[in-house]
């Protein structure tokens, strides 16, 4: 049994202009000790998926299942879910400056994470906070424990966020764009830290990002999201070696890469991300797909395994031979 099993997750928000369907039926699983990368652009629903699993999506209608070690988080009472948050599942957010409380010292914020779930004294919690800050690679943790968030650099702040998340030895860590706001050298350090922590603790990790490079580097499995749905899911190596979905091809083709020839032409994906209030009918990617057929406007493609690899699924109405042919052309 996987650590986290999400099945048929749907999340919608009632707005003045109608119902906004942020996540339209998403299923995936995360194994203990493995990293699932969820890749998508703005409006793909990747963040909302994570927030919904954590029970943090305010004002949302959520349906489906999210089973952590067999226990469906979505059916828990608010108070039960609160006990799960920060203890069994923890989350790290994108912008550590705005995600840390500006008026609380960092040690206090980390210690609070401990005291919410463990019955320990203030002194013990503070000692644990110092320990955690050291574990995430903050130099001189005993001194830094009393620092204000604005006194630390971006990388340090993100380490504090990670320390807070680890306070109660969660089995699952969700990191939502943890390095997007950071410089590339700092990003490398933080990714290395996450990798080390995962290996040491056997945590399952969900890493949400728009950066394909980050996913390639860190993830074991990848789910590509578009317009609130998963369009392709595969082990990372497979996804980059033999992607099956036209959107994935589009992403790989449109991104400049250091490991490709410099003169390689960037091929953008035409059009723009769809409205989630009135999503396109049929295959949601069809208005932007260069290989669209009439049928694709009306029929929704199910997420189905690719022949020969049960771990690789794709939601595309084109049949496998056609896709293979198309992929031989200038793909990625």
């Amino acid at each position: 049994m996987a650590l986290l099993e999400v099945e048929g997750l749907r999340v919608s928000f009632p707005t003045e202009d109608g119902v906004l369907e942020a996540v339209g039926g998403v299923s995936f699983s995360v194994e203990a000790g493995r990293v699932l990368g969820i890749v998508g652009e703005s409006g793909s629903g990747k963040s909302v998926t994570a927030l919904s699993v954590m029970g943090l999506a305010r004002g949302a209608q959520v349906s489906g299942q999210a089973r952590l070690d067999g226990r469906d988080l979505l059916t828990l009472a608010p108070d039960e879910m609160r006990r799960v948050r920060g203890r069994d599942v923890a989350m790290v957010f994108q912008d550590p400056l705005s995600s840390l409380h500006p008026l609380h010292r960092v040690g206090r914020q980390v210690a609070e994470a401990v005291r919410v779930h463990q019955d320990v004294t203030r002194a013990a919690a503070r000692a644990r906070a110092v320990e955690l800050l050291g574990e995430v690679g903050i130099p001189e943790p005993a001194r830094r424990v009393d620092a204000w968030p604005h006194e630390l650099s971006g990388g340090m702040r993100q380490r504090v966020m990670i320390a807070m998340a680890l306070a109660n030895e969660p089995r699952l860590l969700i990191a939502d764009e943890p390095t997007t706001a950071l410089d590339v050298t700092v990003q490398a350090q933080i990714l290395e830290l996450l990798e080390r922590l995962r290996a040491e603790r056997g945590m399952g990790v969900v890493l949400i990002t728009h950066d394909l490079g980050v996913v390639a580097q860190v993830a074991d499995d990848v789910a590509v999201m578009y317009a609130g749905q998963i369009v392709e899911r595969a082990p990372a190596a497979t996804l980059f070696a033999a992607p099956e979905h036209p959107y994935t091809w589009g992403l790989l083709r449109s991104v400049p890469r250091l490991d490709a020839p410099r003169e390689r032409e960037l091929v953008p994906i035409q059009g723009r991300p769809p409205s989630l209030l009135h999503p396109p009918g049929g295959c949601r990617f069809h208005p932007r797909c260069p290989h669209v057929r009439e049928r694709h406007r009306h029929v929704e493609p199910p997420l189905e395994p690719v022949a020969g690899d049960p771990r690789h699924s794709v939601a595309c109405l084109l049949d496998a031979p056609t896709r293979r042919e198309l992929r031989q052309g200038p793909v990625a």
Binding site: M54, L56, R82, R83, V84, R85, G86, R87, A90, M91, F93, D95, S98, S99, L100, H101, P102, L103, H104, E112, A113, V116, H117, W148, H150, M161, M164, A167
Partner: protein
């Protein structure tokens, strides 16, 4: 922090000097001719006029007069002499100060006790009936002129005039040291009347601030840690939301200590406000000058204290 305090103190001194100079100059350049006559009050005798001229050195150039005045204020805390009421300005002001402090302090307690819970609940129950009711009432309280509110309160509730005689009416003030019970009883209505518009304003402000704070990322982090909602609101949300109120509170207290003219007049509380009002009616220039300077002093000091409090509350300000 120490550097910040020192810088602000210097600024306070400079400000007070500037205020006193401007006040002095305004009264000095008042159009009607004779400075002595202005100070003498109504129907002065020629002897009085001569005496005034001599005391104040009115024939001397303005900066000399200013210098003497300031020397008096700074060294002896002497704000001049009110010929209209035949007493030193300072003594009269100090005499009335306790009443003003009583009125201000009580009103502050009342309006904070009202505004904080109301603002909090309104924010948490946004758009529900509690919120709409509270904000509606707040709007009325802000819109009602305070003297009208005072008169209506007297008309309805004062023991001597009112339809439902519950509270002590106007003119019943007793100093705290004389008779605490009577002191409190006499100030109940004035406190609530004075507090009304402030409570409304602060409640609205707190509501707005709290709504904004509660949508911040760090609140989401607190929830993600599993912090119970009550603690999220009170421990994480309230403090950033309240900080701007601290600033305003200090300023309001500073202003009120200069005298709440309207409330003091309606309820005949013998405070500085009433004193200033009487002085204006009697064209008692030294008294007017004195009360203005006094009020300015409180505002400037209040400003300073507020800035210091803010720096203490929000560590990001200290490095600025």
């Amino acid at each position: 922090m120490a550097g910040y305090v020192a810088r602000r103190l210097l600024w306070v001194v400079a400000l007070l000097l500037a205020v006193s100079a401007i006040t002095f100059l305004i009264f000095y350049t008042l159009p009607s001719a004779d400075p002595a006559a202005i100070r003498a009050g109504r129907q002065p005798t020629p002897e009085l006029l001569a005496q005034i001229r001599q005391n104040l050195g009115l024939d001397e150039p303005v900066y000399v007069q200013y210098w003497r005045y300031m020397k008096g204020v700074v060294l002896h805390f002497d704000l001049g002499f009110s010929y209209a009421s035949d007493a030193p300005v300072r003594d009269q002001i100090l005499d009335r100060l306790p009443a003003t402090i009583s009125l201000t302090a009580g009103a502050v307690v009342v309006w904070l006790a009202l505004a904080l819970p109301v603002g909090l609940i309104s924010a948490l129950r946004r758009r529900r009936w509690q919120d709409r009711l509270a904000m509606g009432a707040a709007l009325v309280a802000i819109s009602a002129p305070v003297y009208w509110l005072g008169l209506v309160a007297l008309y309805l509730f004062s023991k001597d005039l009112g339809r439902f005689p519950i509270f002590e009416g106007a003119n019943t003030y007793r100093p705290l040291t004389d008779d605490p019970a009577a002191w409190a009883a006499s100030l109940l209505m004035p406190w609530f009347v004075l507090a009304a518009s402030f409570a409304a304003f602060y409640a609205r402000l707190l509501r707005a601030n709290l709504l904004e704070v509660m949508s911040e990322d760090y609140i989401r982090t607190a929830r993600a840690k599993g912090v119970p909602e009550r603690r999220v609101v009170l421990g994480h949300g309230l403090r950033p939301a309240i900080t701007p109120l601290v600033t305003i509170l200090g300023l309001d207290i500073g202003i009120l200590l200069g005298g709440a003219i309207l409330v003091e007049s309606v309820f005949n509380v013998p405070g500085i406000g009433r004193l200033a009002y009487d002085a204006i009616r009697q064209a008692d220039l030294p008294m007017i000058q004195g009360t203005v300077l006094f009020g300015a002093f409180f505002i400037v000091v209040a400003n300073l204290l507020v800035d210091l409090a803010y720096a203490w509350v929000d560590p990001r300000v200290r490095t600025a």
